[in-house]
Amino acid sequence: MEYTGAEIFVKSLLKQGADLIFGYPGGVVLPIYDELFKTPKLRHILVRHEQGAVHMADGFARANGKPGVALVTSGPGATNTVTGIATANMDSIPIVVFTGQVPTGLIGNDAFQEADIIGITRPCVKHSYLVRDVKDLASTIAEAFYIATTGRPGPVVVDLPKDVLLAKTKFEYPETVELRSYRPTTSANKRQIDKLAAALEEAKRPVLYVGGGMILTNAAAELKKLAHTIQAPVTMTLMGLGSFPSLDDLCLGMLGMHGTYRANMAVTHTDLIVALGARFDDRVTGKLDEFAPNAKVAHVDVDPTAISKNVPTHIPVVGDLKDAMKKLNAVIAESKVDWKTKHKPWLAQIDEWKHANKLEYVKKTNVIKPQFVVEEIDRVTGGDAIFTTEVGQNQMWAAQYLTLKRPRTFLTSGGLGTMGYGFPAAIGAQAAFPDKVVIDIAGDGSIQMNIQELGTAVQQRLPVIVVILNNGFLGMVRQWQQLFHGNRYAYTCMESQPDFVKLAEAYGALGIRATKPEEVGPALEKAIAARRPTIIDFVVDREENVYPMVPAGSPLNKMLLA
């Protein structure tokens, strides 16, 4: 029996186990929408803007580990996905984005709603396909999911010309995918693991520096085991948050530009830094030549290009992080070292740093401090929620003050720093886990970048809570202007703001405003109890800054503390 490309598309997704699409229709993808109409098994969430669809697919993937799927039309539908794709690419998130394309015969003719989306997205995808023959469609979809989810994950774009969706062929979905040109190294080399274990045995002041790879590979249990066995402190990047419990005695918190004092001091003084699924981003290292100046560097990563890219590596380990962690734990289990005694002076030093400069802010009774809102979120939820963030001060306070217990509970745009990410990502996460509490910690600027998705949340009855830390500024940029540009607040104040409560109500969501510290907890409780899309507008201290801060280009131990 023969099927149209559109039918094959739907069948392939179901075969793939992808039963949720975030999408937006248009002319060239109409054949697919017609099939979706007939296939209720394959759920479709209608978004309000294609960027939202991609962030939702991304949030869905980050929250539950399965690849996210977005579907959009050609031309403007496709170009609207670019920021979402670049965001997923920077953070290695497995998503597959299907874009409609004009019929193959018209490609290159400046046809109506034609855009060379393969060309436009080439630098920000893991891979992409233009399907030119319906016979290749099923195998291409299988390859797209395979590539998106294996090795270092990432976004894959599949461009679907309309004639391919209408043409007919047999349906055969490949059981497995084999590509001669793509065989990611998944097994970590045992000799390198032995070297790493030996280095750990020798080190006096080791630090485990953990990135998003730990979450992508679901290796948090192995991390806990390693850290506890060898009694080594753990610091995380923004992307790594959640992979090690914030309240564990060995947890140093986040490192880098807005990292904790103890994390940055520990990294500056360590003699062995073990990077686990992290990539030495400039926001993490500060001034590169003075980063971990006395340290041997070990680096475990599935992507060889990440190793020795920014920091020369003494012990490279290429392979799947979970596999490497298991092997490392097995070798460590044989070790005769008395780790506790060996690391006692180091942990004592870290404890001193911990008490010397804690994360702190000046508490006030007449005005809401943004940090206080995050602390209250933490208290009210007991950390039992999925958090997303926007970008800016809101993101950094969320990273600093939430006490996370589990991986996949803190979803944030780390690499690209995309304002407007958090809200659609929260909708995606909520779609994956309808019963969980999902909270987007937002800024007043960022939330306006994808506020239209309120319509999506209301239509789908997804009870996402948006907490706006409303400082009436593009706060993080204002902070830089205050600190490094002589207080010249050029175009960082949005003097005209919508009334977020009325805006929520206009969309059919719940709107709450709080202006006093004592209102914060009750507002959050009310929102959580409501189980419907909610915006809480917390009017916060306008010129609060995020500290500690390592000015861009400074070494990590040169932190501004207040």
Partner: protein
């Protein structure tokens, strides 16, 4: 340092754009590039001449390998290899310089591949240094046009790319 890198790729739509985009997007230098299908028409072989210190070349080869359509990458800098390029040079042929043009062509084991009343067109193939030397020698005689290929390369002995 200058490196000669050969890359075996899937002969697929857009693969050249992926490779050249990688170089421009990451700020890698690309001096010359040549591409053609191999015996197996599903693959193409590219030869890329690039420049950079060891750390950069390490990134170049790793990043090339990371592209999904790349099957294999060889950096020839550490081994003995054969390299060839070709140049076509169109020169003014005046009665007083024809003998000199022919003499140069012979020294470089080139060929005159086209003749008109006013011009000679010469083909020279060989290692890059030889081709460059020929161009330098012929320059004073009046080059009208030049077309030079990117380099191609191959390991000596048994070793192969594909």
């Amino acid at each position: 340092m200058r490196h000669t890198i050969s890359v075996l790729v899937e002969n697929k739509f857009g693969v050249l754009a992926r490779i050249s985009g990688l170089f421009s997007g990451r700020g890698f230098n690309i001096e010359s590039l040549s591409v053609a299908p191999t015996l197996d028409l599903t693959t193409s072989r590219m030869t890329i001449i690039t420049r950079g210190d060891d750390a950069i070349i390490e990134q170049v080869t790793k990043q090339l390998n990371k592209l999904i359509d790349v099957i294999k990458v060889i950096d020839f800098s550490d081994e003995d290899f054969i390299e060839r390029g070709i140049v076509l040079v169109k020169v003014n042929s005046e009665p007083n310089n024809r003998a000199e043009i022919l003499r140069m062509t012979e020294i470089f084991r080139g060929k005159v591949v086209d003749v008109s009343t006013k011009t000679y067109t010469i083909e020279v193939t060989g290692a890059e240094a030889k081709v460059s030397a020929f161009v330098e020698m012929i320059k004073p005689l009046g080059i009208i046009e030049i077309a030079r290929s990117g380099k191609i390369a191959m390991s000596r002995g048994k070793k192969t790319l594909g």
